[in-house]
């Protein structure tokens, strides 16, 4: 979509300023109306603000880490402080940003709208989950402020039990509590998707965003309780000085690793599956084509969720696990590549002969496919026993999981935010700035993390604040990485600025700016409190897109609101 105000936009603008609609944002005013809201859209915004806050904290720690690694000597911080820096970065980013990022913001906003429901099945539980999240976040954050934790985000025993004098119990308590917000969100999604679909919205008419959130919710439900009980045991072990992880009492520290990764490996799929759902939507919308092999993409989400529970042992290849167990975990880890590849190939096939637009959301979708493929392929390398032993605990692993978590999950999150920003706020973001920022993020990201593959392969271990000055290239690569992190940081601040700007000064968004076929676009932007004036009846399949050339001839058709005169007719083909 071009930047200049088109005739259509002008009409929309005039219409909106003459007839301001009552929507979920202006239906009620005051701080109380937000803090006590039961509207899934407002709760999504509460989450959006809070995950952004925790992201900024996690990002600040990342900045400090990169700054320290600029030089070989430990001149900014010493090892003890550095241990805290990477621990805080990991805890904030994993538990308080990545895991809730897409499901709790975009998922909360879109799941009911995409299936044609008025709200989630349990709105009060939804609000409760936000309060639980905030309580957990505040407790953990206060642990960081009081002096911090130095165990690594993985809380491995005996670091976290016998050898740490830091605020492990408080931080762990925050994460324990936060887990229940994930569980409640997952519970809400599963029940909503099962029982609240609009008439005609059959399972195979659901947007793939819904399928991937369903798969994510399964992991929330079945994985999160295990980390909860594990962290509880760690806390009790610290407080009572007994327990099942302490070898002095006959316990087994490796049991902790098993229980931790039983959740924390599937947690990676909690981060990536919703992003995959977002990318499916973006690609269909911005190439004007139905997703190639819909049912394969849908079931591959479930397959990833199921296989994800069977691969945790690949984190224990060097932790005294038997070599036969290692071989089986290695094999199953390879198998995860199959459903992941199904998605990548099907997205690529969807783009084939499509009318591809280069709007910001699509740029992030492109970035996702490329970066996720690199992250995934290096994951296959790490699933191989021999190679994994070679690069265990090196920057190769760090680079791999950042390609999945930042290159994958973050790109999906940013792409999704741009795509649905008009729906969420009723305003357009500035497209030119959006594309520019996407480019900066992409360049910055690769410059940050690609050198880390090389560093890791050359033997640079993770979690060290200093490295030898006389190894050729190490400092060069670290400087590249730090430079990239600075660019990435700027690239992420730009959307922060223009999103805020657009809430006041952005162009009014039409009901369906892209235009897309999903139900969420068939109601005004921003939507009314109960989402739809009339419960929609679905008589079409998912992604019934037509190429723009065809639409120029026959037009995009009218949505129910346009037919009812609620929204002015909009035709993207005019632009």
């Amino acid at each position: 979509m071009s930047n200049e105000l088109t005739a259509t936009d002008a009409r929309a603008h005039e219409w909106r300023s003459r007839f301001p609609t009552v929507n979920y944002l202006n239906a009620d005013y005051g701080i109380k109306s937000w803090l006590l809201t039961k509207d899934h859209k407002r709760i999504a915004l509460l989450y959006l603000v809070s995950v952004t806050f925790f992201f900024l904290i996690g990002g600040a720690y990342a900045g400090a880490i990169r700054l320290e690694l600029l030089t070989p000597q430990g001149d900014l911080v010493q090892s003890q402080t550095y241990n805290k820096l990477f621990t805080h970065h990991g805890i904030m980013m994993v538990f308080f940003f990545l895991i809730p990022s897409i499901p709790a913001t975009l998922g909360n906003f879109l799941v009911p709208m995409m299936i044609g429901a008025k709200d989630l099945a349990f709105p009060r539980i939804n609000l409760l989950s936000w309060y639980i999240y905030m309580l957990g976040g505040v407790l953990t954050f206060s642990a960081l402020l009081f002096g911090g934790v130095d165990t690594g985000w993985t809380f491995y025993v005996p670091y976290s039990t016998n050898f740490s004098n830091t605020y492990v119990v408080l931080a762990g308590l925050g994460i324990f509590i936060n887990g229940f917000s994930s569980i409640l969100t997952g519970l809400n999604f599963i029940v909503t998707i099962h029982t609240m679909r609009a008439p005609g919205m059959t399972w195979f008419r659901l947007p793939l965003f819904i399928w991937s959130h369903y798969a994510t919710s399964l992991i929330f439900i079945l994985g999160t309780p295990v980390i909860a009980i594990t962290i509880l045991l760690i806390a009790l072990e610290r407080l009572a000085h007994v327990g099942i992880f302490d070898p002095a009492l006959g316990g087994d520290p490796v049991l902790f690793q098993h229980m931790f990764w039983f959740y924390s490996h599937p947690a990676v799929y909690i981060m990536i599956l919703p992003a995959m759902g977002v990318v499916s939507e973006l690609i269909a919308t911005h190439t004007r084509k139905p997703i190639f092999g819909y049912s394969f993409v849908a079931f591959s989400s479930l397959a990833i969720a199921i296989f994800g529970f069977l691969v945790w042992g690949h984190h224990l290849f060097v932790s005294s696990q038997s070599v036969y167990a290692g071989m089986i975990f290695s094999l199953i880890s390879f198998v995860v590549a199959i459903p992941s590849a199904v998605k990548v190939f099907n997205w690529t096939a969807t783009m084939y002969k499509g009318s591809i637009s280069y709007d910001t959301p699509m740029l992030y979708a492109f970035a996702f496919i490329g970066l996720f493929t690199i992250g995934g392929m290096t994951g296959v390398m790490l699933a191989a026993l021999g190679f994994d032993v070679h690069v265990t605990d090196t920057y190769f692993v760090v680079a791999h999981f950042h390609y999945i978590m930042v290159g994958g999950a973050m790109m999906g999150y940013l792409g999704g935010l741009h795509n649905w920003w008009p729906k969420i706020t009723g305003r357009m973001y500035p497209e030119g700035w959006g594309r520019f920022a996407a480019l900066v993020v992409f360049v910055g990201f690769n410059l940050t993390f690609f050198p880390q593959f090389l560093l890791g392969y050359m033997g640079m271990p993770r979690r060290y604040h200093a490295y030898p000055a006389d190894v050729p290239l190490w400092q060069v690569l670290h400087v590249m990485s730090t430079a990239g992190a600075s660019i990435l940081g700027i690239g992420l601040l730009i959307p922060g600025v223009y999103f805020l700007w657009s809430m006041r000064y952005g162009r009014f968004a039409p009901a369906n700016p892209w235009p897309a076929t999903g139900l969420e676009w068939r109601t005004p932007s921003p939507p009314p409190t109960e989402n739809f004036a009339v419960t929609p009846v679905v008589t079409w399949e998912a992604y019934e897109y037509r190429p723009v050339e065809e639409m120029r001839v026959i037009g995009p058709g009218e949505s129910a609101e346009q037919a009812a005169g609620v929204q002015p007719p909009l035709d993207r083909a005019e632009t």
Partner: protein
């Protein structure tokens, strides 16, 4: 089912006028379905939550069979059996409470069954507290500084068993039964307002989802105990030699 418009025409209140119907649902049937599924999903989550402890128990039971056998003999299986019977009876009274609301019995009947459930639950918890106290007086509280078994207990510990392994059993015993007891306390907390509403006659054959879902929860907590009892009290017990 008549539509709301028809219902209004015929002089009945529209279905949406039922005070229990939340705005996001189209009708009570959908609301009931969502509530029940929600409770089942919650129970699935609980299974995984307890699962971590069951896993730890199974691993260490296999690793230290002698220690666990010796330690489990310090649990009183007679009291355990009594408590099992109490809990199963409370499940029966809860099932009858659900039946009473489904069948539209008088609030008095509903409340009677629910109160019986609460009383049986409290009986269980009191017996559990007595057992905990017994462990305390025997110095079997598995916390550093408190774990101090008396000479008589120590004389029963086989030579190949370390005190740490022995303590591990009690650690798991307290963790598992403690978490179970916590769920029962929460259950008593949840049923209290339900009893209040039942007394006010809110639950009818048309709307009784809270009672039904609470029943599911209560039965689930029972089932956890059905697994805990044989694992902790009965496996390798020397009956009669306590």
């Amino acid at each position: 089912m008549a539509t709301n418009a028809e219902a209004i025409e015929q002089g009945h209140a529209p279905e949406s006028a039922h005070t229990a119907l939340a705005h996001q649902f189209d009708n009570l049937e959908q609301q009931r379905e969502a509530g029940t599924l929600g409770m089942w999903v919650f129970i699935a989550q609980e299974v995984m939550f307890f699962g971590g402890l069951f896993l730890a128990y199974l691993i260490y039971r296999m690793k230290y069979p002698d220690a666990f056998m010796a330690a489990s003999n310090h649990l009183n299986w007679t009291i355990g059996t009594f408590n099992t019977a109490v809990l199963i009876t409370s499940s029966l009274t809860m099932a009858l409470a659900v039946w009473a609301t489904q069948a539209g019995r008088a609030p008095k009947v509903q409340v009677a069954f629910m109160l019986a459930t609460v009383l049986l639950g409290l009986t269980f918890l009191s017996v559990k507290a007595y057992e905990y106290h017994e462990k305390y007086t025997d110095g079997l509280i598995p916390v550093a500084g408190w774990f101090n078994p008396n000479r008589e207990i120590l004389s029963h510990i086989p030579a190949n068993v370390t005190l740490g392994q022995y303590q591990m059993f009690f650690w798991l015993y307290f963790a598992m039964t403690g978490l179970h007891a916590l769920h029962m306390i929460v259950g008593v907390g949840i049923i209290t307002p339900i009893i209040f509403w039942a007394w006010r006659g809110r639950y009818t054959p048309e709307y009784h989802a809270p009672v039904e879902n609470f029943g599911l929860y209560w039965h689930f907590v029972d089932i956890i105990w059905i697994f805990l009892f044989p694992l902790l009290y009965l496996l390798g017990a020397h009956f009669g030699k306590h």
